[in-house]
């Protein structure tokens, strides 16, 4: 009995310390509807969601040894995050759950944390080294970049910029102006309402599936990666495809593919008309395939 009492006492003494390290921390304050919110958390998860209040609410779960939770700022802007232990090579990841006004201007920086953003209508600026970035909502502007993490975006937005080196990019939704850049990662854009776009890769595979709007301008470029273009069967655009030392496969129209570059490459050009759009695709040694969209 006495042994049990001592064990219980020791446990009771130990519990508060353990709980204080792992129990969720809550912070919040009122902020302007379009306040700037800067979030940093090197590892773990960052989840940012919109809510219908002019305030910010943060829940942080910071394991022992993960660092220190910081929160500060005023009505116009708030900065929050996890300051990692000084000189620590590795440390456990922390969870940050952040609720902000929908119009807030949100900036996130991480190394390996997963970044999940939903429902926001203000500008977003998200950067990661290896963590995955997932965005849904209607941001007024979205810039997301990563070295190696995937970027998965389903938004309605006038302006989207997505960049990665080795990660995969998927863009879906309604976007007016899109820039997608990868080096070796694959990139896919399945978009409506697109007026301008640039997709580029070095060895990554590019997939473009969109309508061509009147006066629109679209470019796709990959050095050695393949380029797959899907358009509606009826389109008003001038299409110019060049594979310097690669192939062009056209299943969209009956226009012929020509040999070029002394037989090493192929080209195809077709379409045009008044107020037509321009679509230009180039590759050095990849294959450009153009065909019909499989769905409207």
């Amino acid at each position: 009995m006495r042994r049990h009492f001592i064990a219980s006492l020791l446990l009771a003494c130990a519990m508060p310390a353990a709980l204080s390290a792992q129990a969720p921390l809550r912070r919040g304050r009122s902020i302007a509807p379009d306040a700037a919110v800067r979030i940093f958390n090197l590892a773990g998860t960052i989840r940012v969601t919109a809510w219908e209040r002019d305030s910010i609410d943060v829940t942080a779960v910071v394991p022992e040894g993960a660092g220190e939770f910081l929160f500060g700022g005023g009505s116009a802007g708030v900065k929050l995050g996890i300051s990692p232990p000084p000189a620590a090579e590795t440390f456990p990841g922390s969870l940050l759950e952040v609720k902000v006004p929908a119009r807030a201007r949100v900036w996130v920086k991480t190394e390996s944390a997963e970044v999940l953003v939903s429902g926001l209508t203000g500008p977003l600026d998200l950067s990661s080294v290896s963590g995955r970035i997932v965005v849904t909502g209607s941001p007024s502007e979205l810039a997301a970049e990563s070295m190696d993490g995937g970027i998965d975006v389903r938004v309605t937005s006038p302006l989207v910029r997505l960049k990665t080196a080795g990660g995969t990019i998927v863009l879906r939704g309604q976007v007016e102006d899109a820039t997608i850049s990868t080096v070796s990662g694959a990139a896919t854009a399945v978009v409506t309402g697109l007026a301008r776009s640039r997709m580029e890769a070095v060895s990554g595979h590019l997939t473009f599936d969109a309508e061509l709007l009147p006066g629109g301008n679209y470019s796709l470029e990959s050095h050695s990666g393949d380029i797959d273009i899907r358009l509606p069967t009826t389109f008003n655009g001038a299409v110019d495809l060049t594979a310097m030392e690669g192939r062009v496969v056209n299943t969209l129209t009956r226009s012929p593919v020509h040999s070029s570059n002394r037989g090493r490459g192929e080209t195809a050009s077709f379409g045009g008309g008044a107020a037509a759009s321009d679509l230009v695709a180039r590759t050095f040694k990849g294959t450009i395939s153009i065909g019909a969209q499989t769905k409207p």
Partner: protein, 209 residues
């Protein structure tokens, strides 16, 4: 002098319109700031390239609205970034300058293509190639200073992707040397250069500092 202040003076600095004291201050800043050197070098290359363009060319289509539309939305955010990472601003400006340079050269390509192909490499092509290489060297130096702060896995990703870009640049250069008037090859070469600059800039910015 900060990078923001230098940025405001850059045009006048290149055109030698600054008062001597201010010019000296700008030069001092330039001597210690690799990011501003990158931007200055690119803008100087643009101005030099522009002087070689024929005055009577007509662009095949109006490229500027598309470029302007892409640049304008970024500018509203640029000032906020500068306080955090002057390098990011320099690189953004560099990309904008690159876009202008490419647009100018694309116009030139159209004119060249209608006449006989030049027997030697396009001089503007290789001046710009050199400028890109110099800009890249500056960023590579910055990155080397911060490489120890990067996770080994990140370094591996970076090096693998830089190697891919370097191979693409080498292939494009070789092909362009054999076919100097080829506008598509030139566009691919600029694209690879720009991607390398962007990747280096991103890697530098994303490392802990």
């Amino acid at each position: 002098m900060t990078c923001d202040q230098f940025d405001l003076l850059l045009d006048d600095y290149l055109e030698q319109k600054l008062d001597p004291d201010v010019a000296s201050e700008a030069a001092s800043h330039l001597a210690t700031c690799a990011a501003c050197r990158v931007r200055t070098g690119e803008l100087r290359a643009l101005l030099e390239a522009a002087t070689t363009l024929p005055r009577d060319i007509q662009p095949p289509r109006n490229l500027w609205p598309g470029i302007a539309a892409q640049l304008a939305p970024r500018s509203s955010r640029t000032l906020a970034w500068t306080r955090w990472a002057p390098l990011a601003v320099a690189a953004t400006a560099l990309i904008a300058v690159t876009a202008l340079l490419t647009a100018r050269m694309t116009r030139h390509d159209t004119v060249v293509a209608t006449g006989p192909a030049p027997a030697t490499a396009h001089p503007v092509t290789f001046d710009a190639d050199r400028e890109y290489a110099l800009a890249t060297e500056d960023l590579e130096r910055l990155l080397a200073e911060r490489r120890a702060q990067m996770a080994p896995a990140t370094v591996a990703v970076l090096e693998r992707n830089l190697a891919l870009i370097d191979a693409a640049i080498a292939e494009s250069r070789t092909a362009l040397a054999a076919d100097p008037a080829n506008a598509d090859l030139r566009a691919l070469l600029w694209g690879a250069h720009r991607q390398k600059l962007e990747l280096l800039e991103r890697a530098t910015r994303l490392t802990r500092s």
